[in-house]
Symmetry: C5
Subunit: 265 residues, 5 copies
């Protein structure tokens, strides 16, 4: 018997300790499957838009990735997502798409995230993003007011982070934020990742003008130099074509059952 | 003590590493049990029909496998399927049947898949199919319009794949697809498997004429040379006998509870 | 060090391989607990009766085991079963009982199986039965018609199996079967175990006359020589005493919540 | 190398076999946490009272443990229990309490057990009790009749066990029992533990007089020599103070959601 | 071979025993994620306030941590929490915050805990707290009466613990407590950790005056020397700003679905 054996045994015990520890703290399996190339390490800004009021985030980010010719590098699937896919000239879209261009990544979704699964969705998306040590996360959502304006309100995870957006957005003195935008920001704050929310003033219908207002903030934050005129020009067309999507998304949210998810009340 | 022992220990550590890794990423168990002979490797086209609007896919593919004398090679069971079996002259049918003839496989179902389980059903079916490296997947569904025509609309997972069907089907400029057909296509797109959806224009009743229209597309795509006349001749009979099935399927979908599945809204 | 050690290590690796394999494909735990002596190997016919329309199967098989003095060898418990026990002269019955006499086993239940758990119940019961390599499985259920007759319809899992019952029962040209009887037959068909369903024409109340008609089929199939007169004589009494059971069973089915089980619709 | 090593390896293989076996048949984790000193081995009679109709069991057993100065040795917690605690002069009670005096143990609960969790509760309680090889289990419940009498009906798990109570209680010729009392008795019968149910005739309100009637049976069975006069004297007071509890318990049962538990119907 | 090897093997067996034991009694994974610096060992008093009637606990403890400049050391996230975050001048708050100052810790929440998850929340919070061997736990809740007074009722886990608060609070002769306060106290009692509940008499609206009354008790118990005047001065403002929160919290509780959580009744 060489002296390696006891060492091996010791190492084995270490392994077994690890098994032991894992067994009593088994990590939950992912609810969201990310199928994607990796993001660039260390300095990526991740912009996220899920359909919500006015489809503000989805329209804004899809416009950005189309105009700037971002590369699609991935998709997500989940038992929590409703069985719904948009199709365009005979080709279906991935319901959630991951794009990259230089140091900006964009996650654009055609499907709404129900309040019941906001936590899991945010947790799993941030688990995936966090491994690439992102510079910051920004989520775009709509906020319904009774005003005709298209203002953009800003919220950040910390006072320090707030400096990044306070010149470009309006601040609400007090208030609350809910849904997937709330979960993403809460999750980033808990992980110590700087994050921002852009809340475009909107109505309960596809709202490319509110999206354009949030893009103007992106232009300032990221020097995108995006021309809003094409978006404004297509506004009526988008309102019509997306109106059908907004309805379908809305109906899907209301009708599509999710599993392991139950509401009370 | 031979020198084998330390090696054994090393190997054991490797094994334990594997245990360790498996423990923290335990794969989810299957929700759908496939009990079947394997499909032929590498070049099989898999045609899939679940009951939906007009029972278009079920009628079309059952007609195909009956007329062309496909061999049944398997079945599926699942806690998600409603407890319902069709019987024919005293013999029950497997609720989901897998058939093969040469390089064409068909999966034909008598039970509807509720929106809540479309993801799991598609994922598990594709997990099984993918291991045989299929050439392509095609799913047939119905699409309800207010037109008397029996047109067939086509959708594909990619622009490349679209070329395979664009001459034989009509393309919708924009729109959405939902249900099991949406999940199958989304799952195939995420896995990089070329896939097509044939959407037969139909009504809310068994519709062998719409099925016949989709079979004409299959004839062109796969040179089946299937004669539609017997199907048309049996249309009234099928409408009657399947009408009962359509009702039962419909009632089953509405009444049969599924487990671990809850709707919200 | 003996030469056993390396072997032991090899065996251990084999063991660890087995652990490894099990971990990534952990078998689902049983939902139904069978507490029973084993069935005789290789040649047992298993007769199964759960309460359904007319309580046909429960009444028929309980009459058979009582008259022929079968031995009770086991019971089943499950989180899926409603908390309900019948009591007789101060002694409670096991809600599900397993009996044996020679090469005939009987499973008789006082509790209904909700559609939501038919799959799990059938799967776990058949997992238990299958290990004894049974000759065949037969389940008795009721089928409600608007006819005054007490006919018995038959269904089998295969054309071969059908020969066993086609002389003793009527065959339905086309139709469907649902509930626990459907699940048991589907499960047997998927496992390649010959199985039969006897569907006694009945009404929505305890129906010893329909049970008697199914026992006549059993008499022919198994040469039981059971005298139906006592059952017919007790019909009124059974209808009264079981009527209370039928109600309780019915109420239990409607009111008792089951866990991990949710309906949609 | 000593000859211990191969043995050790053999033992290790045995261990690994056990791991292997456990992995493929992982025992479900407990839903009920018992935090208690052990019961005396081999000869303990365990009396169980959960709130039900008339709060008969809870009042009877709490009166017994108070009057006879049983020692509280434990408590139970569970995700299935509603978040409700009784308080008495500023001190909260454990919702479920375990008491012991000589060879009699008592489990007294202030919280109702919903039909959905009767199985798990009974299974986990009996898992805990069974390890002490109890002499017998007795559960007290209420049975609502339209009679003004306070009779006590008895039920046992076997004909042998019945002898223990048949002189002290009335026997119902036929009937059914439901709820936690049914589950406890069914579970005991399946495990071969003699068990009894005392069903006190009661009304839908706290009923110390029915509780007194059941205590008289306990007096005879266990020679307790308990004086019922104090209980009768306090009847009005108990009816008032417990009336509030009965309401709260009732409301809690109706309103408190349980998790992993869903009703159908 | 040294004599270490058998020892190692023995130790390994011990490890394997531990694996074995863990496997058959796998500890449930945490439902609440605590992301925090540790609490001081051995002598910390932990004060807990979740939003309930009158938001009494949340207002009182937030006032305390703000006025006394506690340090925030942690946060909690959970799939059970509704997706809701308060924001203040453009910065979002962690929905649940952990603070420390000297030997007093405070857990302050902006989100309500539904009855369905009180057990898991209390269990997981106490699992985290217990490892620091706290001196005591105190939870503040509201109790709605029809009186205009702002009395504070006290409840403790044991008669000994009661001495700590009986001079500063009123005792209810009999009664019950429900919700998260009940679960926290029950959990502490089961773990043998002294715990208290302060129940501030309140109404169904933000109630800083009731909060002030509970702070007066804290002043006496912990010699905080907190001046209530600023709180009283801000009462109207708090009632207004928190009124919106109270509504949102209320709506969130009613509307936000929780997963794996189902109500019955």
């Amino acid at each position: 018997m060489t002296e390696d054996a006891p060492e091996s045994n010791n190492e084995m015990q270490t392994r077994l300790d690890m098994i032991h520890n894992d067994l009593v703290e088994i990590k939950p399996k992912k609810d969201i499957n990310v199928i994607s190339k990796p993001l660039p390490m260390n300095n990526t800004s991740v912009l996220i838009g899920f359909p919500g009021s006015g489809l503000v985030g989805t329209i804004a980010l899809q416009y950005m990735v189309d105009q700037m010719e971002f590369e699609q590098i991935g998709t997500m699937t989940s038992k929590f997502f409703p069985p719904l896919a948009m199709m365009n000239k005979g080709v279906i879209n991935d319901p959630v798409r991951i794009y990259i261009k230089n140091d900006i990544a964009a996650i654009v979704a055609d499907i709404p995230i129900h309040p019941m699964i906001c936590y899991e969705t945010s947790r799993d998306i941030m688990d995936w993003i966090e491994q690439f040590k992102p510079k910051e996360v920004l989520t775009i959502a709509g906020i319904i007011t009774n005003e005709p304006e298209k203002r953009v309100f800003g919220v950040a995870t910390t006072t320090d982070a707030l400096k990044r957006i306070e010149e470009h957005t309006l601040l609400l003195p007090i208030g609350s934020i809910s849904g997937i935008a709330s979960s993403l920001l809460t999750e980033c704050k808990a992980r110590g990742i700087p994050a921002f929310g852009l809340l475009g003033e909107t109505v309960n219908a596809p709202d490319p003008r509110s999206s354009a207002a949030t893009i103007e903030v992106l232009n300032k934050m990221y020097n995108l130099g995006l021309d809003m005129q094409p978006l404004i020009d297509q506004a009526v067309e988008i309102e019509q074509s997306m109106g059908k999507l907004a309805e379908e998304v809305q109906q899907s949210a209301e009708q599509s059952p999710k599993k392991d998810l139950i509401m009370y009340g």
